[in-house]
Subunit: 161 residues, 2 copies
Amino acid sequence: MRWEDLDQEPCSLARTLSVVGDRWTLIILRDCFLGVRRFDQFEARLGITRHVLADRLKKLVAADVLEKRPYRERPIRHEYRLTAKGKDLYPVILSLVHWGDQYMAGPEGPPLRHRHRRCGQLTQGVLICAECGEPLTPQEVSVEESAKWRAAQSATGDRSG
Amino acid sequence: MRWEDLDQEPCSLARTLSVVGDRWTLIILRDCFLGVRRFDQFEARLGITRHVLADRLKKLVAADVLEKRPYRERPIRHEYRLTAKGKDLYPVILSLVHWGDQYMAGPEGPPLRHRHRRCGQLTQGVLICAECGEPLTPQEVSVEESAKWRAAQSATGDRSG
DNA sequence: CAGGTGGGTTCTAAAAAGGAACGTAATCAC
DNA sequence: GTGATTACGTTCCTTTTTAGAACCCACCTG
């Protein structure tokens, strides 16, 4: 399967990965959440080639995850900012960071800590059920094919997930 | 920066992506959570080449995210199962799926729904603060460099995130 | 005018992925 | 007991991506 076909898959995970599923995109977005906005700042922080950076920024703008807005005319200069859609990737990033803190940190522990300003504590994210508030575990979640989907697809033999 | 160097970065996100940060790995893990365990099942469901599948499974086993265990001798056959470390990636996958459900679904809506068996409802995951229980938003979370880290790194000019 | 900055694009070489065929050990169908 | 099938890879070759460095252009500074 080609990269460009991923967003046609009947699977929300595959479609999401068609936007953020490569080595660099999520690291760029991490920096966006840390306040980085300009091409040369990304380049200096990221150890990424300019070529790939320009390509990823273009794709993120096309996907409406970032927006490119001018911050100066003459010469025209742009900055990249998270859209609402982009900001909604925050739980994804925090989940990844949390897992890395647990399993990939060296003996010095994780390099960064997250403080929840609302309550003042150092925090970790926990994923809970929006309905009952209990933590979600794989054992307790079952997956059902949507009825609309079944109807729309009928007998096409689609693999879905 | 090369792929293999990512796990040395002083950033838990980068280190996590050194394990799961490519086009296929998370899709393979999705299938693991759906109960898929054997090479040919992955192959049939995934539209992935055998070459890449074998490589990713090997890397996931090396990273202790999956374990390879025999389910039959003569001829010896193995299956791949999530370890505890692998199961802890569940919030990552669910966050990605949730975002895809919101932003990447077509007019028919998302293909799969998730039912929380504990409470019986169709559910979405919400990321909350482990300390106070409120949802975590990027505006309300600030990032601090760990004191241990600062000490250990002293003045090396590391870019961290 | 020389040099620097911001934001790219173009070039070539290396790495990764796609696609198909091949290998192998056992088992099944006839 | 020959031939096909299953399970699980590996090999070979082609196409796509990435890395790495150089180049370009508009403007600004001195």
